[in-house]
């Protein structure tokens, strides 16, 4: 019986693609980085690029410029340029910065994309009205992984 339990546990670990993503409140940071994938499913860089440039998703372009997506108009200049970002940071660090940049850079203007509590007067998206119940994080766990995968290609 114990062996069976161990076997099931091993199966669950191996088949982590089917596991639930780490909830925003359960994310463990180490010096601002997140060493373990939030989903266990490798990120898709093509989907990650879409998250970065879409206004309704990450809209990273609003603040960060980079040659890698020079085809997208209107790069902002509030945050640092992302050229060579895949060389300058590790995957774990990028995951941490996207999920909650304030864990690495105290007081940074950058929104926390994988967090869902601790807000002051949280609203229901862009309606100006109060949020109803707990808010979903700005990006899903897999979207965070996708963005990390895309950023790792910017070298």
């Amino acid at each position: 019986m114990r062996n069976l339990t161990t076997a099931i546990a091993a199966f669950l670990l191996a088949g982590s693609a089917y596991a639930e993503p780490v909830a925003p409140s359960d994310v463990v940071f180490e010096d601002g980085a997140i060493p373990v994938s939030l989903t266990g499913t490798p990120g898709d860089p093509v989907a990650g690029r879409e998250v970065m440039i879409a206004r309704g998703l990450g809209n990273c372009v609003a603040c960060h410029t980079a040659e890698a997506y020079a085809d997208v108009p209107f790069h902002g200049e509030v945050g640092p340029p992302l050229d060579f970002v895949g060389e300058r940071w590790t995957e774990a660090e990028l995951r941490g910065i996207i999920a909650d940049a304030k864990m690495m850079f105290d007081g940074t203007i950058m929104p926390s994309f994988y967090k869902n509590a601790g807000y002051i007067r949280p609203g229901n998206a862009f309606t100006g009205k109060a949020a109803e119940g707990e808010l979903p994080p700005l990006l899903s766990a897999q979207q965070v992984e996708d963005v990390v995968a895309y950023l790792m290609t910017i070298k």
Binding site: R55, N59, V61, A62, C63, P73, F74, H75, G76, E77, V78, I109, P111, S112, Y119, I120, R121, P122, G123, N124, A125, F126, T127, G128, K129, A130, A131, L135, L138
Partner: protein, 284 residues
């Protein structure tokens, strides 16, 4: 050497083009060829550590937008001023009064008013905006219905009242009885609201002059309000702009006319003490 010089000249030409496409920081704002505006000046003392110099939102706009404010015949806000002038002279309410019954002409009675509002009202024991004072007159002097705080008629009237103050320095009082309201406004200014966790200061103090997507961030000054925005082709009040900004942080906003926005209006106005009243101005 010749090549180097050519390179330098090309660089100059390029940067001239670039500044033409964005804003003319050093341009001078003279309205109708006679009202000289101070659009850049030394920051008020209370901003020590934040700004040395403050700039009107006008300096952040394109030459095309800037030009619209330099001639009242080009300024689309003047239609609202004309509308309000008719209302100023019209009797309304049970007392048989118009604005002009007590105040005479706008030019004579309202010069300097816009520059010092929001302002402490001793009788009421509160800081009041122009809108609050207008409604006090309507209800208590005219016996008329108060206007909705954010209504077109109300914003038109604040535009008209601003006209004789154009070119005068913004000079709101922040000490004495107004101080606690001012402190409350300051706290709101630095609070990071909403799911994006953004304070006014994040964009307008820490990142002015930077682009956020296609928007050129200003210092968030209110000396030009009410503002005709090309984006929505109408006059906008300070509180409506606050509301839009806070909504964009994915927050539950405060209401137009709320005590929170009155406090924030006083605080933000005080950050622009020394800039000329430009209202009604033109922005994008």
């Amino acid at each position: 050497m010749k090549d180097a010089l050519r390179g330098v000249l090309a660089g100059v030409a390029l940067s001239a083009l670039a500044s033409g496409a964005t804003a003319q920081e050093d341009a001078k704002l003279i309205v109708n060829g006679e009202i000289e505006m101070v659009t850049t000046t030394t920051a008020p003392e209370h901003l020590e550590g934040a700004f040395r110099e403050i700039r009107s939102g006008w300096t952040f706009r394109t030459p095309e937008t800037q030009a619209l404010q330099m001639d009242d015949f080009e300024n689309p806000a003047m239609i609202a001023v004309d509308r309000a002038q008719v209302v100023w002279d019209a009797v309304d309410g049970t007392e048989g009064n118009s604005c002009s019954s007590c105040h005479g002409t706008v030019d004579e009675s309202m010069a300097g008013v816009r520059a010092v509002y929001p302002k402490w009202n001793e009788d009421a024991g509160e800081v009041r905006t122009l809108e609050m004072q207008i409604n006090d007159c309507r209800e208590n002097r005219m016996g008329a219905e108060p206007w909705d705080y954010g209504s077109t008629g109300m914003i038109d009237m604040t535009a008209l009242i601003s006209i004789p103050s154009r070119g005068m320095p913004v000079n709101v009082a922040i000490d004495g009885p107004a101080q606690s309201t001012w402190e409350k406004g300051k706290e709101i200014y630095y609070t990071r609201f909403g799911q994006l966790e953004l304070a006014c200061a994040n964009c307008h103090e820490d990142n002015y002059d930077n682009l956020i997507r296609a928007d050129h961030l200003s210092m968030g000054m209110t000396n030009g309000f009410p503002v005709y925005r090309l984006r929505n082709t109408r006059l906008n009040s300070t509180h409506q702009r606050f509301r839009g900004c806070i909504r964009d942080t994915r927050a539950e906003t405060f209401a137009v006319g709320s005590p929170e926005f009155v406090a924030l209006e006083l605080y933000v106005a005080s950050r622009g003490n020394g800039l000329s009243v430009e209202a009604p101005s033109v922005r994008n």
